[in-house]
Symmetry: C2
Subunit: 232 residues, 2 copies
Amino acid sequence: MIRRIPQARDRGIPDATVARLPLYLRALNGMAERGTATVSSEDLALAAGVNSAKLRKDLSHLGSYGTRGVGYDVQYLIYQISRELGLTQDWAVAIVGVGNLGRALANYGGFASRGFRIAGLLDADPHVVGDRIAGLVVEHTDELESVIRKRGVSIVVIATPATAAQQVCDRVIAAGVTSILNFAPVVLAVPDGVDVRKVDLSIELQILAFHEQRKANGGPIMAEEWPDGVVM
Amino acid sequence: MIRRIPQARDRGIPDATVARLPLYLRALNGMAERGTATVSSEDLALAAGVNSAKLRKDLSHLGSYGTRGVGYDVQYLIYQISRELGLTQDWAVAIVGVGNLGRALANYGGFASRGFRIAGLLDADPHVVGDRIAGLVVEHTDELESVIRKRGVSIVVIATPATAAQQVCDRVIAAGVTSILNFAPVVLAVPDGVDVRKVDLSIELQILAFHEQRKANGGPIMAEEWPDGVVM
DNA sequence: TTGTGTGAACAACTTCACAGCT
DNA sequence: AGCTGTGAAGTTGTTCACACAA
């Protein structure tokens, strides 16, 4: 029996806001390091690359943590955002696929710092298994399920070739994982309740190419773009 | 004097649509390889992981390229999307920063295939300069401006440490580049007219952590989440 | 009959502008 | 006097549902 609070406030934070909280957090951490105690929405927005109205609206979804006429207390806001994002606990992450990308991720510093601990590096290639990377020994993907269960892995990063990604995905989901970060250039099929986030170099480049092409044309429309003759 | 067509159709394609076109393109290429000649919006949407209404609306922004009662011609649609995205020409890309991530990007296959040609690999570390990676010799970042100009680079990928990113960014913009793909965990300051796309592992993990935390709570709200005592 | 293309309804997100707290 | 927090307005994106072409 699941407890439910009927008249509960709609504490659902908009996705767009959640996606920006890490940005604010990073900017705030920089300020904290420099010893700033208090910051206005204007200044924080500038540092995070958004406008101040948006920032205030975003923060208002978390609660009323600012002081009118003054601004936000940097340390306190760091704490509140961290808590909201779930960074006050730490998360065991496994990286599957230890090619160049997997290595880059394993060695990425900002990783361990923010509540994410690499609890496993796995690869299917026997030549890679046994290598020591970022203080961990690479294990064989045969161990995937056991690594996930024994070390309480709740987030899996897929950095395998495209061909292996869906299979890895299926296995980690079967092992109970519901949060996946996918670097392989495929659309993963997952059941409801599983979150997949995707990072795709090729897509980003194509989006840039689209805009670059527009600029090159010297304006949004060129008459020549749609010659009547070209139809099927 | 810039020619403008006053009564021009509003051919501005929504950003959300542009961001999905590469997905459709990838799905279509897969179908083309398997010899599929024609596809319905339903099937293509399934392969791309969106719903069919959205797909039809997206494609309708490009033109009327389907056949009612039949579907879309795979080859023709590949051509039209490619053209819209600007993939029928090829783009010279330079990668700055040749650590693990830079190497991963350089070796990434789907790169060269889709109109993107790596025209330069640059790094500030003399130990790396001279290395041969993916058929290219790594050059020193001193050569950045000359590489961009001589090889017609129009897209720069920044894969440097965070501390170097803004400086590299400023230099490539001064050299005329207006499209940047940034992997460094910083918000780049750029003038109007410059497009920056950002790929940030740490942000993606934090977003996953947020949702993972929600799931763990067994529901959207827990009364205990907001004890009255905890204020500043 | 089938499946596209699209107006219209809906939902999410952003920006404005100002009341109200400090 | 200054800056947050937020209704209201505006914008963008999504989904529905069906007319219409093949």
